[in-house]
Structure formats: structure tokens, C-alpha cells
């Protein structure tokens, strides 16, 4: 699952980049920034869960209470 997540995020990034180009060409600048923001929010929701798991496991292993 984890490795697939890297590809998911890369896919979202590429889609957002392409959409931005398209929206810029059709003079919809504000829509382009909206698309970028939503892309980043979606990706961050996925990454934050992984980082939470990382910090939790480091905390339990090294007894960092």
C-alpha cells in the first residue's frame, strides 16, 4: 500500500501541474490556484497519516514519552 501511495501522490501532482497549464492558457488564473490548493490539501491529508504513524512508532520504540 505504502509504495502505491508514492505513485498516487506523483499522479495527483502531475494532474495538478497539467491542469494549471490548461487553466492558465484559458486565462482562469484564480481557478489554477484553487486547483493547486485542493491538490495540496488532498495530498497532505494522505501524507499526514503516514507521518503520524512514523512519529508514533519512533515514540514507542525509543520510549520517548
Amino acid at each position: 500500500m505504502d509504495v502505491g501511495m508514492i505513485f498516487k501522490i506523483a499522479g495527483i501532482g502531475i494532474v495538478v501541474a497539467v491542469l494549471n497549464q490548461v487553466l492558465k492558457k484559458t486565462e482562469r488564473e484564480e481557478m489554477a490556484t484553487m486547483v493547486t490548493l485542493t491538490g495540496i490539501v488532498v495530498v497532505l491529508m494522505m501524507v499526514i497519516e503516514m507521518i503520524g504513524r512514523l512519529f508514533e512508532s519512533v515514540r514507542t520504540i525509543f520510549q520517548l514519552y
Binding site: 505504502d2 509504495v3 501511495m5 508514492i6 505513485f7 501522490i9 506523483a10 495527483i12 501532482g13 502531475i14 495538478v16 501541474a17 494549471n20 497549464q21 493547486t36 491538490g39 495540496i40 495530498v43 497532505l44 501524507v47 503516514m50 507521518i51 504513524r53 512514523l54 512519529f55 512508532s57 519512533v58 515514540r59 520504540i61 525509543f62 520510549q63 520517548l64
Partner: protein, 128 residues
């Protein structure tokens, strides 16, 4: 072998983050962050096994557990500090990275105070 998995994940993540570096640098930073997290999550069981060996050794040689747990805490703090500082440095934020390292050093110093006290007591007792 896990090492092949690790190297392949690292290479794939590097390639993908380079693809996205020009247009969307924030995504490339997230990909590198995620690759580091995944590689560490794969290595957790190994780290746990090593720590178990240290615990059994120290209990056999009846070393005081305070020192061992403090050392492990320091290792944990050092790892997290390094992880965060390196990610910030990759993202180009050198100053934030140094601040994170500064915080980590202070925390490690605080953790090592009891050991310093024990050492001083030992030295004082040695002097007749």
C-alpha cells in the same frame, strides 16, 4: 532482500520528485518526505530487534536501565531531528533546519543531565 526494495523505492521517489520539481516543487518535497517515512516504517522491526538485544545484554550484565533508556531516547530524538532538518533543508529552508537541530540539541542536553550528575557523584566518591 529488503535492501533492494529500499533502493528501488528511493530511486522511484527521486525520479518522481524530479519530474515534479519544476512546475510543482511542493509535491516533490512531499514525495521525498513520504519516501523517507516509508523506508523507515519498513525498518522498524529490525530496529526493534536490535534494541531487544541491547536490553537482554544490559539485564544480564545488570547495568542500570536508566542509562540504556536515556541512550535510546537520545537516539530517537536525534533521528527525528535529523529527519525533520533534512527534509527542511531539501525544501530549501536552511534556517528552519538549523532551528530544528538547535531544538534537538537542547533536548538531548536536558536528557543527559541525570547521567552527568551520576558521573559527578561517582567522581566525588572516588576522591578520598
Amino acid at each position: 532482500m529488503e535492501i533492494i526494495q529500499i533502493v528501488s523505492i528511493g530511486l522511484i521517489a527521486a525520479i518522481l520528485s524530479i519530474i515534479l520539481k519544476k512546475e510543482r516543487p511542493e509535491f516533490s518535497m512531499i514525495i521525498s518526505l513520504l519516501a523517507g517515512t516509508i523506508i523507515f516504517l519498513m525498518m522498524i522491526s529490525k530496529v526493534q530487534a536490535v534494541l531487544e538485544v541491547f536490553y537482554t545484554l544490559s539485564s544480564r550484565m545488570n547495568i542500570d536501565l536508566l542509562y540504556l533508556t536515556t541512550i535510546f531516547k537520545i537516539i530517537g530524538i536525534a533521528y527525528i531531528t535529523e529527519f525533520g532538518a533534512q527534509v527542511c533543508r531539501d525544501a530549501g529552508e536552511g534556517s528552519i533546519a538549523t532551528k530544528i537541530e538547535f531544538g534537538g540539541k537542547i533536548l538531548i542536553m536536558i536528557l543527559s543531565i541525570p547521567i552527568l550528575m551520576a558521573l559527578l557523584d561517582l567522581i566525588i566518591n572516588l576522591i578520598p
